[in-house]
Amino acid sequence: MAGDSHVDESQFKGISKYFNSTTSTGRANVAKATYATIGLLVLFFSLKPKKKPTTN
């Protein structure tokens, strides 16, 4: 994979400074954020109370 030695980090402002697909840190952070989101979704659906069917 290409390195980011030639990328000018000062071009990034705000949140894109930490989350982008150009710098090494940015790419690592977006991957971690994606994994965290997927983990949270899995956790949410596994802990969600299941609807009990009503019996008469």
């Binding site: 994979m1 290409a2 697909s21 090494s24 952070n29 977006v30 991957a31 994606t34």
Partner: protein
């Protein structure tokens, strides 16, 4: 010796110039040699071809992959995360690319093993099926069949070399990604 030197010169730039990579080409050269000899031996009649069995090819692919993944995740965690997102990926595609790259990394030993097995099996199956028709066909066609078998054997010899080279080169590239 010429072949091994050529392979060493081929793998060295793929691995990079880091000090920790010294001597690592020999691992991949021995892997190449093992697969090459097994493939070639299998071309002889009545010789058992080890590399046509998934057990053998998976044994070659899985431990090396596991070693690189465990080493990479423990020692170069940020580097592994970086590799999940290719440089310049458009923002909306990033979550999908991360998932695809994760799956790609997980199935790598499987693809390596199945690629080798399937290529060897396909060639040997073709040779066997054509050979089985030998006793039943007429004499004029027998000459064509023998010629076809010879050509297929030459092709299988080339496949034997190419597949062992592909296996070794891909393993080298995958190890490069981890470091």
């Amino acid at each position: 010796n010429t072949l091994l030197t050529k392979l060493h010169n081929e793998f060295k730039p793929l691995l990079g110039e880091k000090r920790t990579n010294k001597g690592r080409t020999f691992l991949f050269i021995s892997l190449f040699s093992l697969i090459l000899f097994n493939n070639f031996l299998g071309l002889f009649p009545y010789v058992f071809t080890r590399t046509r069995h998934l057990v053998i090819t998976l044994t070659l692919a899985l431990p090396l992959w596991l070693r690189f993944i465990v080493f990479g995740w423990i020692n170069n965690t940020n580097h592994i995360f970086e590799h999940l997102v290719p440089q310049g990926t458009p923002t909306p595609l990033i979550p999908f690319i991360v998932c695809i790259e994760t799956i790609r990394n997980i199935i790598r030993p499987g693809t390596l093993a199945v690629r080798l097995t399937a290529n060897i099996i396909a060639g040997h199956l073709l040779l066997t099926l054509l050979g089985n028709n030998g006793p039943t066909i007429t004499q004029p066609l027998l000459g064509i069949l023998i010629l076809a078998q010879i050509l297929l054997l030459i092709l299988e010899s080339a496949v034997a070399v190419i597949q062992s080279y592909v296996f070794a080169v891909l393993r080298t590239l995958y190890s490069r990604e981890v470091n």
